[in-house]
Amino acid sequence: MRKLLLVAVAAALPLVAAGCGEKPTVTVYKQGQYQGKPDKQPWDNEQFKGDKVAWEKALKARNVGQNEYERVAAH
């Protein structure tokens, strides 16, 4: 009888202990990090050869060129 009780307790113990291993089920959202391939800077290529200033200068000229008040007055 005592042996049977011990077996029953041993069998029930994992079930009782399983409650202690319960994990919280509330989801915590985290800000994701980019998972893709790294991209290079737009001036790191064979055209500008890493010259950031030259790239910025080229882009600025195009930026300012959109202002026809300046562009037309210059001609």
Partner: protein
């Protein structure tokens, strides 16, 4: 560092769709995908207004926030780009985007949703600059060539401006002050209220 932005001037847009054509031509965009389109309100009635819409490269982009596989990244110029290799075509970004910018090519016999495609501000993607892989997946990389987006540079009336946010804001400010438009500008009433729709002062009411 410049923060790249688009600015669409509804007072100048003549709905020629030149920007749409320029974009399609520049990047070899397939049928059914429109990275840029012109939206016209009150079409056909006097006073209609058109505006060119694409990805606005948001400073706090909702597409980046909702993407479950985190394919989006932002360049040092503030351009929102994505890695197509990881995209699962779930369409969350489409629902999150207030401009309807993400596009999904209908690949396959059953109209499956392909990998997301959107305006790259002509800045390509994470593939090597000027490579065939970059052109096939993302289109031409004009930014790396020291050029601005094709749509903005092609615009005949310069209704669509693209580039450094500070510079194009200055251009637009000068334009507005030169043409003498203030509260008549389209969208002003929506944003700041219409002067003519103010409730009439009731007798005895505080001013």
């Amino acid at each position: 560092m410049a923060r790249m932005k688009f600015l669409a001037d509804a007072e100048r847009c003549i709905e020629c769709n030149g920007c749409v054509t320029a974009c399609k031509q520049e990047h070899d965009i397939p049928w059914g995908v429109n990275r840029r389109r012109v939206v016209t309100l009150n079409d056909g009635t006097p006073g209609e207004k058109s505006i060119s819409v694409a990805c606005m490269h948001c400073s706090d982009a909702p597409c980046m926030a909702v993407c479950p596989v985190d394919v989006f990244y932002k360049t040092s110029e503030g351009i929102v780009l994505h890695d197509k290799d990881l995209c699962i075509g779930c369409g969350y970004c489409f629902y999150a985007c207030p401009f309807g910018a993400p596009q999904f090519p209908q690949d396959g016999a059953f109209g499956l949703r392909g990998k997301m495609d959107k305006c790259t501000f002509c800045a390509g993607g994470p593939e090597p600059d000027f490579s065939a892989a970059e052109f096939t997946k993302y289109g031409r990389n004009r930014i790396a060539e020291g050029k601005l987006p094709a749509c903005a540079e092609m615009c005949a009336t310069k209704a669509l401006l693209g580039g450094d946010g500070d510079v194009i804001a200055d251009i637009y400010r000068r334009r507005v002050t030169t043409r003498g438009k203030g509260s008549e500008v389209w969208g002003w009433g929506t944003a700041y209220g219409k002067p003519e729709s103010k409730p009439a002062a009731r007798p005895g009411a505080k001013s």
